[in-house]
Symmetry: C2
Subunit: 156 residues, 2 copies
Amino acid sequence: MIDLRFPTTLQMMLSLALAQREGDLVLSSAQLAEGAGTNASLVRRLLPQLAKAGLVTGTKGREGGVRLARPACEISLDAVYLAVMGEDPLWAARHNVPHRCLVSNNMADFFEGLTRDAQAALVASLARRNLADSLEELRVIEASAEAALRTAARSG
Amino acid sequence: MIDLRFPTTLQMMLSLALAQREGDLVLSSAQLAEGAGTNASLVRRLLPQLAKAGLVTGTKGREGGVRLARPACEISLDAVYLAVMGEDPLWAARHNVPHRCLVSNNMADFFEGLTRDAQAALVASLARRNLADSLEELRVIEASAEAALRTAARSG
DNA sequence: GAAAAATGCAACCATCATCGATACATTATG
DNA sequence: CATAATGTATCGATGATGGTTGCATTTTTC
């Protein structure tokens, strides 16, 4: 099954950033689930990990909900990724490879270093955006889509 | 299930590089499978993709087998990755998200760009090594492990 | 004080890509 | 012609993930 944890969590965080910008609103897990096109159960499984990482704060009880723990511009996407996906290696070497030659003897160590490098590059690429940047990117995408629509209407 | 295609393929390619360095030998899929700790079926499913990408050439028939199509120093690890894993995006956005707000309206486009950036960073990190480099790294790892063993034997 | 509404947590099943195994056609060598 | 290899197809097992439901706990509101 395709792993949807990161896209789902990212959409949740962007929704929270939008809610924060529009009056410091709190959102319930049901609202977050509805916005992301999933169910409240998955949201409630992801939220505690974000809370542990210090990215969101949840308040229980009636009128409770979730909000960002920091301003959107201070939450970069790599923090979101690491909070949900953990430090688990991107790839895993095979276990139980027989030790027979230079390659099979040292493959595990070599692959671990390779994976670490690749993962660091991945995380660094995510670190180049924060939630506020991303909201602005979403705005630009929407504006360009609207412009394309207007052009199509004029020519059609 | 954890995806082992890349680690498995990489070990196959390193085994081929080693065989090439030791006299331009060809290896059978059974030999490759044995070295990687898996079965010939998986190897024979991975090999055609490497052949399509122009990384290996296979010869059928008795005394047939597989060899690198190019010198090891001209095969970088990103080529191996792309050959086996394809251009498929690293992550996939959810489909069927209701279009209700700035975030849910444009999440798919935004996430596609984000994924493209991350994947490019990943591939670029793999591109920094080729098979010959990796063989040398394996040699260094083995030497350092042997040195550690000798030290332990002397002090123990 | 009780009802309501929220989080947090646990258990269970469905899904589905991957791995492993087997079989078979094809091809090339000796 | 026998042998040994690739290339391909099919089938079942595996296991992480998503979805559903239920419930205890907490906090606000009436």
